[in-house]
Symmetry: D3
Subunit: 238 residues, 6 copies
Amino acid sequence: MRPSGRKTDQMRKVTFERNFSKHAEGSCLVKFGDTHVLCTASLEEKTPPWLRNSGKGWVTAEYGMLPRATGERMRREAAAGKQGGRTQEIQRLIGRSLRAIVDLTALGERQITIDCDVIQADGGTRTASITGAWIALHDCLKWMETRSMIKVDKVLKDHIAAISCGIFADQAVIDLDYLEDSAAETDANFVITGSGGIVEIQGTAEGKPFTEEEFASLMGLAKTGIAELVEMQKQAVA
Amino acid sequence: MRPSGRKTDQMRKVTFERNFSKHAEGSCLVKFGDTHVLCTASLEEKTPPWLRNSGKGWVTAEYGMLPRATGERMRREAAAGKQGGRTQEIQRLIGRSLRAIVDLTALGERQITIDCDVIQADGGTRTASITGAWIALHDCLKWMETRSMIKVDKVLKDHIAAISCGIFADQAVIDLDYLEDSAAETDANFVITGSGGIVEIQGTAEGKPFTEEEFASLMGLAKTGIAELVEMQKQAVA
Amino acid sequence: MRPSGRKTDQMRKVTFERNFSKHAEGSCLVKFGDTHVLCTASLEEKTPPWLRNSGKGWVTAEYGMLPRATGERMRREAAAGKQGGRTQEIQRLIGRSLRAIVDLTALGERQITIDCDVIQADGGTRTASITGAWIALHDCLKWMETRSMIKVDKVLKDHIAAISCGIFADQAVIDLDYLEDSAAETDANFVITGSGGIVEIQGTAEGKPFTEEEFASLMGLAKTGIAELVEMQKQAVA
Amino acid sequence: MRPSGRKTDQMRKVTFERNFSKHAEGSCLVKFGDTHVLCTASLEEKTPPWLRNSGKGWVTAEYGMLPRATGERMRREAAAGKQGGRTQEIQRLIGRSLRAIVDLTALGERQITIDCDVIQADGGTRTASITGAWIALHDCLKWMETRSMIKVDKVLKDHIAAISCGIFADQAVIDLDYLEDSAAETDANFVITGSGGIVEIQGTAEGKPFTEEEFASLMGLAKTGIAELVEMQKQAVA
Amino acid sequence: MRPSGRKTDQMRKVTFERNFSKHAEGSCLVKFGDTHVLCTASLEEKTPPWLRNSGKGWVTAEYGMLPRATGERMRREAAAGKQGGRTQEIQRLIGRSLRAIVDLTALGERQITIDCDVIQADGGTRTASITGAWIALHDCLKWMETRSMIKVDKVLKDHIAAISCGIFADQAVIDLDYLEDSAAETDANFVITGSGGIVEIQGTAEGKPFTEEEFASLMGLAKTGIAELVEMQKQAVA
Amino acid sequence: MRPSGRKTDQMRKVTFERNFSKHAEGSCLVKFGDTHVLCTASLEEKTPPWLRNSGKGWVTAEYGMLPRATGERMRREAAAGKQGGRTQEIQRLIGRSLRAIVDLTALGERQITIDCDVIQADGGTRTASITGAWIALHDCLKWMETRSMIKVDKVLKDHIAAISCGIFADQAVIDLDYLEDSAAETDANFVITGSGGIVEIQGTAEGKPFTEEEFASLMGLAKTGIAELVEMQKQAVA
């Protein structure tokens, strides 16, 4: 029995609130239950130095948490003077995931930065970030299409979404909330495209090591869940 | 004529959304028009080192802006490795303002940290922060009262609120939005208590210097506006 | 009764020692009683990046205190690895104040950096810095005029000087020294031009809030005091 | 055909040179072909703050590369003033992997720090680090057993080793060298215990997404390879 | 011929202005010609962590230059966020030199920090700093003796002074000013006690290497010069 | 009697292992007894900014120690966020020493960076670094000559080597190991060319000051020892 009463294959309620930000070229407040992440897409007409004159653009991501997004207040990274290892891991993951479904040559020599800022955390912030970031990216590309800068169909090759799965109380469950995440024996994050291609897998045994069979059951849950998320993304931008 | 069509003494629509955060002991999403700031109050059962064994507590504040809260994306301070001078000025101002209406001895050896994070900016983020921070602080103290830790009436001596006024197009106006702020010749922030005591004044000539008469007209606007804000605070926590 | 025996409207003895530095294009050791600040003006034939090709120049300031300028040794900011919030506030204030009386277009694409380094502190370091900085700036502009780079009269639009006033022992007094500053209920800094235009006002209630009448009395003291300081500047550069 | 001429399931030559360091309580120079990593174990009689008086110890890891371990010289992280995101990811991975096979309570309130410093890099530095770190950790624990501080059998629950696998030229191959790694479509790292339990999986599509079947073939290679590595560890410490 | 017209063995005019600072326990403005350094001694009733409960005290030094102490403005180290290598070298040298003539056990568990801040630079700032620091240290110890904390004779074992010598235009000369320093082929700094014991030697070939004979001639100059400096110190504190 | 049983003028066994690194243009693992330093030379086709369009190149050095190169683990400088004062002193010394025997104009507008990383420390790491760095530099220049970029004879003007000498148990001894170094009263490092020219001298009294005669005996030892080291360098590159 899960603390939330959910079934093993039941995700939390997921919502996307588009155009949340007045300023950004694309934005989305994504909620997976009590995990709320604001994703904004910012367009710049320049690329990082290593891509100058390459004809290619870049998509990158930054991640942050408000200090009291969590149960106990965490130190503000700006005050600490650096981004922690966890923050860097997550923002690198978000960036790689998005680049997997973008044609950087079709984008042209521009950079899109996706900021994923966690307003409230209850487990699964990195997977919610990736799933919401796709919406912000999509809307930024639409904004550009309206201005005849690109064709969305050329740049955006597919959907991308992510979900966490884990072994909680000896059962494979999907979309762990904080209570489950803290107690899970194994925790895995999956990033999968709309056409079912796997882009990232990160599995970690928190307590005892896991078996190949257990991992396969997590992947099974993830594939189904991500297919649902992609469906929701389609409805959201329809 | 103001860009927004407002009258010279007309503030933007102000709203307080209490309990915005699931985790914080007190929280408030404050909106002054398109300026949206999330204020959270976090209680810790310890004081800064210089107050240990003094019997007194502390109230402090931190301020931040999401990178795309503004019209152009700003560099994330956590990535830059330090908080800028403007950020530090503002968070010091918020902290001083709140301490002016708190009895630190009645609070006891505890620290309350108010985080003011700007979700969207359209001018006046520091004054919105102070005004909303009072709500978050009040609710945190109520939370403590419920647990018999303090009496709110002993700790919270008064209301506190803030507003910006400025000389725009040769007229004294209240509650400048970004368009006005960028073009104003003079910009002043006032922090005033519920009983009308002045706590902070910051006036700056952006272009040509101002006169004592101009400054008096700004202060007149501020006093009236802050009285309204205090009334709204009262209704919000009623 | 003031600790120093001064009258409420009596400033400390103020002196300017021009050409204190062998190397700088302009320099001044300013003393307000036991507060001693070395102000140097350094000319560079380039502007900050955001002004390139604008035809305009820039005037900026940096502020520092020697570690033992104060009663207790403070940690050296260079060793701490960053400038504190107070330092940044003050240097931003000095820069803004000077730019208020400089025609940046007449200066041309050059930058003048005013360094204000506190050799000894006894209250009022920021106001002494601004008042002395004007001398250093003036002398730097004279140096440039001698080399036919500019006309001083075109660039330097006015005098600028600053003074602190406060409510000490229930009386409005001018030019607080450290003893008064530590005990004052209210502390305000005023930056005013030679023609009486107000450029900056910063008023803070350290203890109980202040009234509009109290603030008016502080401003009255400041206006008279700054008029005297401007007169001394005129004699110093005569 | 692999650039090195190896078969798809053939690892590079792996060697362990124990006691490489005169000073460390345990040390090992591990080589996977041209990838050479020096692993040292340092014992301290204290734990991190959050474990004080818990009766438990800690095992942690740090990772670094000499600036010219790579084909092009990289900037020294000490000179850059911070560890990069990749470095932090890797050292967190090494630490988690080792803790998975250590009984921290049996270790007692002590900390063992494993430093993995890459002397020369040719792909697979993180997996070589984990595999060599086990030897250094083992020898440190033996050193402690000799001094009657612990029993190795109680503290060290299992072997741990790691290997990278990837899809190179449409084939699943094991132990990618730098040439393969740069060109691989998919790259995955596996950390597995001596008894076959999976501790970490990290799979990333560098180019096109991968399928569940491809991932299964990578895992198959990894399981066989890691079993071989564990056998070599056993011989090395025999 | 030296640019200043001095003879090869002629130092610049050296002066010590004691009690320059109102706050410090000991202070001295030392001038070697146009090189002016403010040395302050600050007493703290605590030692560094590694000396706690050892019965011994510590003497340490910090060094800084005002940004426009030099011909071209240098970046402020506090703004750059770190002390440069040259600064660290010099402050380590000053600290070691002073500790060579202090009985740290007789000092007791206290720390004296000598701050050497260069107000104006014209070559030889490190040697002027050491020579002036001795005065500040002496006066701090006198201050302590007056309060019955120590006996100066027990703590201060000897004088210490320093001078630079160099090969300029093929001649050994003493006390190089900036013009000479920039052009010298060899530059050496000597730190020697009142009784003639050598404490530090730092010799560097800026252009072509030097010979043992050349070095001996530099040392000869230094010994004579430092004997003169020690004599001046004696008169200064008499 | 020396702890190692060596005679006063007997250096430790010195070996050079050329081409230690697969990637670097030149490399050498130098051992002075148990002190092991890896020196790599990295060529870049660009100069530092201040040499652009000067026709001259640059040789610079960086120094580091692995955290457990020493008896007690030291904090990793990359994790601490900065290089310590000792590290900066040493790398500046290595760079100056190498530039003393290089014709920077004959090198052309290129930079060679010598990284000296201490794998294991037992005293004398800076002198071993300089001595080994010459080999790495030589081999890098040979690599360039093979590609017709330069003539080694034009660029490399001489050999350079370094040794430490000290007063240990009242006797002048050469090549101090850690045990001697910790206990020595005086410690001096000498950097001398193949033709006997002195490039750097650093002498420090750790305990009581030293005399001119003692210093002369240290220099005598150094000259003989360095002549031997130069002979070994010649054999190594023959």
